[in-house]
Every structure is written in C-alpha cells, then in structure tokens.
C-alpha cells in the first residue's frame, strides 16, 4: 500500500466516540467577570476562603497575557464567550440505579460501564460529566482505609483543612495564564488523600467528558500521599463530536510526602477536530507534582491522542533528598492536530533522579513538539537525569520538533539527553512483507514497538484502552 493511500485511511478514520448526551444543564450565562465567579462559588456553597482564592486568582489573571511561546497556532480565544458553569441536574446518588440512564449509556458506548468496572476491575470511578461529580463509587471501601477519594467540591465542604493546606502549593494561583484562569473558575474535579502508611488497594480512576456545547471544562485535581503511602491514579478522557472549539484548562497538583509514591496515568482522547482541522478541543493543562520529602516518587505516564491543541507539561519538583521523578509519554497527532508537550524536572534535593521517555508520532498535517526542561540546582548533589525523546514521522506534510532545555549547576550531576527523528524504515516494512505480514500490520508492529516502553508503564486496565486509542488515531496508516 502506498503512503498516500495509507494517509487517506488515517484521515478517513472517523472519531468513533463522537456523540452528544442530552442532559438539560443548569448553566451560567457565557462570560467571565467577578459576578460569574461569585455565582460559581455560591452555587457550590463554598466557604469564604475559597471565594477569596478564586477572586485573587481572577484579579491576577486580568493582568496576565496569554502565552505565545509554544509551537502552536490557534485563533484567539474569546474568554467572554465561554460558559464557565454547567451542571447535570441529578446529584447526590447512593447507588448506580439512581444515575441518569443517559450517562450510563454514555459510559457503555465508551466501553467502560460503571457496573462492569465495579464488578470486574475493582476500580472506583469518580465520573465527571460537565464539571460536576455525579457519582463516586467504592467510597465506603476506601473509607475503611481512611482514604479520601471524592469530588473537589465535596472535599472543600468536608475536608477544608486538607484542601486549605495543599491547594495552590504546587501550582500557585499566579503560576501561568491557564492555571490562574482555572483557579478562578474551576468547577469541580477530584480530591485524593492517602493517609500515612496506606497502600491504596485499587487503582483510582476518573473519566472526564465534555458535554454541553460551549462549556469550558476547568477541572482541578489534588492528590496528597502522606508518609509511606502509595496510590495509582488513572485519568481518561473522551469527548463528543463538536464543531466549535472547546477550551479545557485543567490543573493537577500532586503532593508526595516522605517515602510516598504517586503514579498518575492519563489517556487523553478529547475530540481532535475533523480531517480539515475544524473543531476540536483546546487542551491547556498544568500538571505538576512535588516530591516534598525524602524518598518520595512521582511518576507521570500519558498517552495523548486527542485534542486539536495540546499544551501540557506534567512536571516534578524533586525537593526531598533521594526523590525520583518519571515521565513517560506517547503523543500522537494526526490531521491538523498540534501538540506541544513535555515535562520539567527540577532537581533540588540531593541524589535526586529523573527519567524522561517521550515518543512522538506525527501524521497528516500535524505538528508534534516535545518541550522539556531538566534543571539541576546547586543543592542537587549527585543528581541524575536520563532523557530520551524519539519522533516518528508518517507522511511528508507533518512536523516533529524537539526543544529540550538542560541546565546544570553542579559538577556531580550527570545528565544525558538523546533525541532522534526518523520515519518508519522501508526496509523494516519490507522485512515484514517478506514474511507474509501486510504493510498495515507491519506498521502497527513497528509503532507498537516504538511506544512499548511507555505503554508498559500503564496499569493493566488502562493499557488496553490506550492501545485502542492508538488504533483509532492511526489505524489504517500505521496500524
């Protein structure tokens, strides 16, 4: 099969999960001002300090300019044209039967029905539909261990001391344009607290969906792992087909205390826009974790296949001695998608170690950039970093870019960085063809091998979905 027909097949792969749920939403008028923020806060019955947090962020946001440095290109966003609050009608449910059947159907279409998950995989699901948590399962079971896994609004009500203590400590309210916007208008998200010495018995998972038209999704996630605890958190996204661009500006904060370990996995499959680059989600996400005390470990794994624009740099601040940061990423772009993604590893403590493995695949007319920073501070004696960024190009209309920043201020630090860019070798395909494997499968094999290093980092439940998503994005062309 020639490259051209292969390409045509990718571009003709329609977004399988595109559909719209019809739930009458309780929403704010479009626009952004202090009134709207007060409305959101009142609607969620938030305490005074939370409102102040939002307002402070909003006032700061008004003085900021939208960043221009990323290698992405998009029409100017009109922030006054976005609806900042919309909630599904039903709330506070005790069992699955009370969940809106439409929502259950949605999940069924996605291949992740709550029941099945509950029964088979033992995964607790905090499903977020349009900015508000509908259902949190397995809560009691987790409660026995003292684990808190709830929606962010609930956490504000029930665990204000924890939220107050950690909110904004990793990503401060004035961090960057999109994070600050999120601080002002976030509607909901997830909150996790793992108490001292507890190993979370199951994978915690949240599925996000953008539902109402013109609804910006501003999620906020805060995960705190206390001394000696362990948690693995899964986040996955799919979105219905839309013509208008939708803004998604989430913030994720991870705090790992002494000896704690957090593993955060993402499969991101927002609607990428159609084959002409029309529509699609703008995904401007700020994700950052801090290994606050000794021997903590934070690991980010992400499979990015969706969104018209991805602007995302999950980072780790290695503050405690002997802490470890990891970043594993597969980013696939097709058609007119643009991705500018990577990580930051900030080494502050002694003997801190970080690993970066990033695999970018670009096809169609897409642009895929890795942007990362490894910074070794003077105090980071004996630190170690290894980075590897590989790009695979499919077709001659796409671009693959690498922008690493390496800064070392200590002689005992060892930093290694490697990056390669290439296309799938014709000899590799020929070798497979010779052995009776058709081109399609050969390419699939090669891409599988190319991304394996990252995919194997995903928890079992997720790896399956990740592979499915890679298929959707590139099937027919590379797989």
């Amino acid at each position: 099969m020639s490259d051209e027909t292969l390409l045509q097949e990718i571009t003709s792969q329609k977004y399988k999960y595109g559909f719209t749920i019809d739930i009458e939403a309780d929403q704010a008028p479009p626009g952004l001002n202090e009134e709207i923020i007060r409305f959101i806060s009142a609607k969620k019955k938030e305490p005074e300090w939370m409102l102040n947090f939002r307002l402070r962020a909003f006032r700061h946001w008004q003085t900021m300019e939208e960043p221009q440095w990323a290698k992405i290109d998009y029409p100017k966003i009109n922030y006054q044209d976005i609806i900042y609050y919309s909630a599904p009608k039903s709330k506070k449910l005790n069992s699955l039967d009370e969940v809106d059947p439409e929502i259950l159907k949605t999940f069924a279409k996605l291949g992740i029905p709550l029941e099945e998950q509950k029964a088979l995989s033992g995964v607790a699901v905090d499903a977020v539909i349009d900015s508000i948590s509908v259902k949190t399962t397995f809560k009691e079971k987790l409660g026995e261990k003292g684990i808190i896994f709830c929606s962010f609004s609930e956490a504000i009500q029930e665990h204000p001391e924890l939220v107050k203590k950690y909110l904004g400590t990793v990503v401060p309210y004035n961090d960057n344009y999109f994070a600050t916007l999120n601080c002002a208008v976030f509607t909901d998200g997830s909150f996790v607290y793992i108490p001292k010495g507890v190993r979370c018995p199951m994978e915690l998972s949240t599925y996000f969906r953008i539902n109402e038209a013109k609804t910006g999704q501003f999620e906020r996630t805060l995960i705190v792992a206390d001394e000696g605890s362990y948690v693995s958190y899964l986040e996955g996204c799919t979105a219905p087909m839309r013509d208008e661009n939708q803004l998604h500006a989430a913030v994720v904060e991870l705090v790992a205390l002494k000896d704690a370990q957090i593993k955060y996995s993402t499969v991101q499959n927002w609607y990428p826009g159609d084959e002409n680059g029309k529509g699609g989600i703008y995904n401007f996400v700020t994700k950052r974790g801090i290994c606050k005390e000794e021997n903590a470990k934070i690991s980010w794994t992400q499979v990015e296949t969706g969104s018209a624009i991805t602007w995302k740099y999950p980072s780790v601040i290695l503050k405690g001695d002997n802490t470890v940061g990891e970043f594993y990423s597969v980013a696939v772009t097709n058609n007119y998608q643009q991705a500018d993604t990577g990580t930051k590893m900030l080494h502050i403590g002694k003997n801190t170690r970080s690993t970066i493995v990033s695999k970018g695949i670009s096809a169609g007319k897409s642009q895929n950039a890795y942007r990362g920073q490894v910074k070794i501070m003077k105090s980071a004696i004996g630190s170690r970093n290894f980075s590897q960024c590989d790009s695979l190009l499919i077709g001659d209309k796409c671009g693959a870019h690498t922008f690493p920043y390496i800064e070392s201020a200590h002689s005992s630090a060892i930093i290694e960085h490697e990056a390669t860019t290439s296309k799938i070798g014709e000899d590799q395909i020929f070798y497979c063809n010779q052995r009776g494997i058709d081109t399609e499968h050969a390419v699939s094999l090669i891409v599988n091998g190319f991304t394996k290093e990252v995919l194997k980092q995903l928890p079992m439940e997720f790896a399956v979905e990740a592979q499915k998503l890679l298929e959707i994005s590139l099937e027919g062309s590379v797989g």
């Binding site: 190009l393 671009g399 690493p404 920043y405 390496i406 201020a409 002689s411 630090a413 960085h417």
Partner: protein, 434 residues
C-alpha cells in the same frame, strides 16, 4: 512590550550605541548601512526575557564604556604567531589593518584584502555580497556593525582554485584603555575551489575590550571551506559574533570554534544549506575558568534534499564559568533524505560552574534521519584512579583526560601546526585551573 521612548533600557541602548558611532564609512554598501542606522533608532538590547539570550546577560558589556580604538602602533606580533605555520596573513591590531603578507608565488587572482584598501574588482564584489546573508536589521549587534563598522577582511577565491596554504587572519588587541572593535569578514569561495582559513584572536593585556564581528561566508557549488576560529583574547575580552554561511550544491564546509578565554563570548553560527548533496561540519570546544562565559548559538538549515550536517560541541567548565549551547537543526518541507546529527558534551569541574544546553530539532520532512544528544557530567573518577595507580599524578591525569576530551574537536582541521598549537594552549590553560 511597549517600551516608551525614555524607558531605562532604551536609554542604556542609546548610550551603548553612541559609543560606536563614527563618520567614516566604507566605499560600498551605503543602502544597507542606512537601513542599519534606521533599525538602530528603535532597537533595544536583548534582555534575559529574549529567548535567544536567556542564559547570557549583556551586563558586563553594556555597563562598561568603550572608546574608539587608538591608531595602531607597530607592536610585537609574536603572541599571534603559530610556530612553523606557513600561511598568507592579514593582521589587524586594535581593529585596524596592520599588514598583509602573501606567501611567495601566490595565485594573483586570490584576493585577501582589507576593506580599507580594496581594489576596484573587490569593491564590485563587496557591493554585491556585503550584508547579503546577514540582513542589516537581523539584530542590534549586526545593525551596529553594519552601520558603524568600517574595518574588515575580504577573501575571494575565484573558481577552480585550490589554495594550498592556509589564510591566517590575526587579531591582536594591545591597549591600555577599554576599546570597542567592529570587524567584518566577507568570504567567498567560488565553484570548485577550496581554501582553509584560520582566524585567531589574541590580547596582550588584561584590558576590557568589546569585539563585535559579522562574518559572511558563501561557499559555491562543489567548493570546500575549512574555517578555524581560535579565541584567546584574554579574560576581560568580550566577543559577539554573527557568522552566516550559505552553502550551495555539493559544497563542503568544516567550522571549528575553540574558545579559551573571554569575559562574554557569543558565537552565532548559522549555516543555510541551500543545495543538494552539501555537507556542513560544525565543531566547537571551550575550556573556561573564573567567571568566563561562552555562549555558542548554532543553526543549521537544511533547505534542499540530500544534505548532511554533523555538529559536535564539547566543553570543560571550571571556576564560576558558564557555558551555553543552543543548537537548532531545521529541516525544510522538501529537504528529504536529510541527515543531521548534533551532540553537546560538557564536563563540569566545580560546583560553581553552570551549563545550559538547548538543542532543538524542527523537522518538516519525513524521510530524514536526525538526532541530537547532550550530556553533562564530571571527569570520570575511575579513569583518574586507573592512571593514578600507574604512577601518574592526579593533576597530570586530569590534564591528560581533559586534553583527550577536547582533542576530538580540532584534530581534524588538517593543519598540523595549528592542531599542535591549540593543544599546547589548552595544556597551558589547564595548568592554571585546578
């Protein structure tokens, strides 16, 4: 960023520029000069927020006052001489032409001329190619050079000439006052010719100097050029250079940049490969101590298919010195079958030294092989220990390792005398670093 006319940075810039203003202009390139003067009206000095100057502060240069160089006096040039090297030489002392010495029996079509004393043919060529590769408004330093620089070297190698002996451009600063020097090189290597150029910078006193240089190089079809830059002007000498190269089909280049001393050194080397089958080689080495600062900024543009480039920069950083490396490889949409490799390796000797590395790949064609690698580390303790167990002192072992580490940068230049000389300079500098 809306800078009011009287903002502090604007004032600093104005004051900085005014130091270099001069009425003496070159006999060619008037339009370009006017353009540059116009650009300078509203130009501002780059700050830390300027992405390309993120790691290099210009404060050490902009806070000093520089004077116009004194008229040259004939002083001892011994320091610039490379033992046993036979080369055509053109010598500049404090920025002004000192002498041109051609070896006996040279090809009379070969032009090695100073901007100040060019013949008519040379002027016609210069008029055509002056600021051809480097737009006058590229940046503030280029504009400054284009507007007020009036010294320079022109090297023109006509078609089908193999220049056997290297051409040596010597720069010497010997001054008791801080001076600002603007120099410009225009190198044209015509079709099927080949030439080797060596440019050295030396200083006799530890006075502050600021050198702002623009070099333009055109390498035509099937031509080849080897260009060695050796910067050893003293630890208070600052050097900002913009070197723009254009390569045509099947041309070959090899650039070597070795920096041994300087307060602020910023070498911009931008190679545009604008023809099929061409190859560009870029090598750089630096050995820094005290508060020396070297910033190597390179760009390789692969515009046409089937071209290759290979880049290797290595450095040893001691004291409180800083090394910056930015390397960009850009492969244009039609430049299929490009092969581009880049590597940057740094060794830190102290905990007060800093290394910043920023490699970039921008690839718009699919059938390419590109890679970049970067490492930062320290001297291998095991290798050191191995040598010490065999009776080599620690100092000597370190010298050996560092020498070997940097050797790779210049040992393919092809002129033995130069390689030996650079090697010896490195060893001498090593003696002062511990």
């Amino acid at each position: 960023m809306n800078l009011a006319m009287n903002s502090p940075i604007k004032e600093t810039t104005k004051a900085f520029i005014s130091q270099f203003e001069t009425g003496e202009a070159l006999p060619f390139g008037e339009t370009k000069r006017q353009q540059a003067v116009g650009f300078l009206q509203n130009a501002v000095l780059p700050g830390q927020k300027t992405e390309d100057w993120k790691y290099t502060s210009l404060m050490p240069i902009t806070t000093k006052e520089f004077q116009q160089p004194e008229n040259y006096a004939s002083r001892s040039l011994d320091i610039c001489n490379i033992p046993n090297l036979e080369a055509h030489t053109i010598v500049f002392v404090n920025g002004a032409l000192h002498s041109v010495n051609m070896l006996p029996g040279f090809d009379s079509d070969l032009m090695i001329q100073s901007f100040g004393s060019m013949n008519e043919t040379a002027q016609i060529i210069a008029e055509k190619y002056f600021a051809h590769l480097t737009p006058p408004d590229l940046d503030i330093f280029t504009a400054l050079n284009t507007a007020y620089g009036n010294k320079g070297t022109m090297i023109f190698v006509p078609a089908k000439r193999q220049v056997q002996k290297p051409i040596h451009i010597q720069h010497l600063t010997d001054t008791n006052i801080p001076i600002g020097i603007q120099h410009r090189n225009l190198v044209i290597v015509w079709e099927e010719s080949s030439v080797t150029i060596l440019e050295t910078y030396h200083g006799t006193k530890q006075n502050s100097t600021f050198r702002n240089q623009v070099t333009e190089v055109i390498v035509a079809e099937n031509a080849s050029l080897s260009y060695f830059k050796f910067q050893h002007e003293g630890r208070n000498a600052s050097h900002i250079e913009q070197c723009n190269v254009m390569q045509q089909a099947n041309s070959q280049t090899a650039f070597f940049t070795v920096s041994l001393s300087g307060e602020i050194i910023r070498n911009t080397l931008r190679i545009r490969i604008n023809g099929e089958g061409a190859h560009a080689g870029l090598k750089g080495g630096y050995l820094l101590d005290n508060i020396e600062h070297v910033d190597n900024y390179t760009e390789v543009h692969h515009i046409k298919p089937h071209s290759t480039s290979n880049e290797l920069y290595k450095g040893i950083i001691g004291g409180q010195a800083t090394a910056v490396f930015s390397g960009k490889i850009q492969v244009y949409p039609d430049a299929q079958k490009t092969q581009a490799y880049q590597s940057n390796k740094s060794v830190l000797l102290t905990d007060t030294a800093n290394v910043y590395t920023k490699p970039q790949l921008e690839i718009y064609a699919d059938d390419v092989k590109c890679s970049h690698g970067a490492t930062t580390g320290q001297i291998n303790e095991e290798a050191l220990y191995y040598m010490m167990t065999r009776g080599i002192s620690k100092t000597e072992a370190r010298k050996l390792l560092i020498g070997a580490f940097l050797e790779e940068i210049f040992n393919e230049f092809g002129v033995k005398e130069v390689e030996e000389y650079v090697h010896r300079c490195i060893q001498e500098k090593m003696d002062s670093i511990h």
